[in-house]
Assembly symmetry: C2
Homo-oligomer: 228 residues x 2
Amino acid sequence: MAKQFGKVVVVAPDAPQSGMGHAITIGKPLRMNPVHIFGDVEAYQCSGTPVDCVKLAVDKVLHHKPDFCFSGINHGANHSVNVIYSGTMSAAMEAAIEGIPAIGFSLLDYAYDADFGLAQQVAHEMIHQISSGQIPKKGLYNVNIPNVNPKKYKGLKFCRQANAKWKENFVDRVDPHGKKYYWLTGEFQNLDKGKDTDVWALQHHYASVVPVQYDLTDYTLFKQLTGS
Amino acid sequence: MAKQFGKVVVVAPDAPQSGMGHAITIGKPLRMNPVHIFGDVEAYQCSGTPVDCVKLAVDKVLHHKPDFCFSGINHGANHSVNVIYSGTMSAAMEAAIEGIPAIGFSLLDYAYDADFGLAQQVAHEMIHQISSGQIPKKGLYNVNIPNVNPKKYKGLKFCRQANAKWKENFVDRVDPHGKKYYWLTGEFQNLDKGKDTDVWALQHHYASVVPVQYDLTDYTLFKQLTGS
């Protein structure tokens, strides 16, 4: 779909990277090799994390900064606090740190055979609105697509990140050698009743668009502490 | 040092986690075992990431939320944009998401035999000021300690996160089998001349204290997009 708007080059991890956050690979070297799975689109698989892929793409594949970085599409929600755990959004954020306009896309459907039809439509809408200046190009956007029949889809909605968390509930098991191990599981808890949040928008069949930044300073507390 | 203030329980990764960011372990189970390396302090090593350690500590070790989470101390700076790549700060952030007051500590010295004397003094100062109410307890703090002679140390300084980035410069090598691999290296670029930043404070022999939050919404752009 992105091919309609310009030349596309793909650099992607060679294995699933769920929950990889903003991890980078420091202690071991990376491999990167061309693959031919997207027809005439230049593509590479990389042994590293999503963030490594962005760094390698700029430094060793393109040798310059691209006009855009599109990250994903992710299987599963990256709304609310999930933005922090998400490899997809961390890759987009890495591009933004480099000064590259970036969008991360996620579909609220974990199924391997998920239908990406609506996601394609939403991506087209986003890129078109950015290209035409309706949405500022110089930004980082977290776009989540609801898992609904396209007929029920209501459009893009600009949102803030909902205040939510995961309530951990590790499952203990014992291996055949008598040793314990733990599987991470959790229950999503939305603590935010706001109608301007991404969680609300998705529940109401909008695609949520959260403009994202990476200055983590808590300015309210900063002002309180410095008396400024 | 923290023992002076209450009961301490340690849950730490069993291997280095540099650049692990906010990664969590989803696709494989975790191991956690008691270790006896800190005298009478209850301690566990965990096969997961720093964030996994916090989740396991709350759910499977303590079975309740502790009064504080102290993360680190990290060898090397976690000021400015490094907060995003840092496993140390991500663990502290995970605690904050759980509602636990948290501090991440980092020393600007990568040496294995680094002197932690000043770091100990700074940690004591932070915990003391929080305990006595001078610094709000309910917060998440990114504390970096300068690599200076304690006599030159000027005290704590509340800061904002400096706007900085890493300029990638991958080193290409060829393995004995003729195949290419890449080592991530980079050059730190401070783009921020502000005297209220963590980078400035550390250069001037202060310990930098940045109050941190995890709502990544870009509210300036959000307001512009929503006309609010």
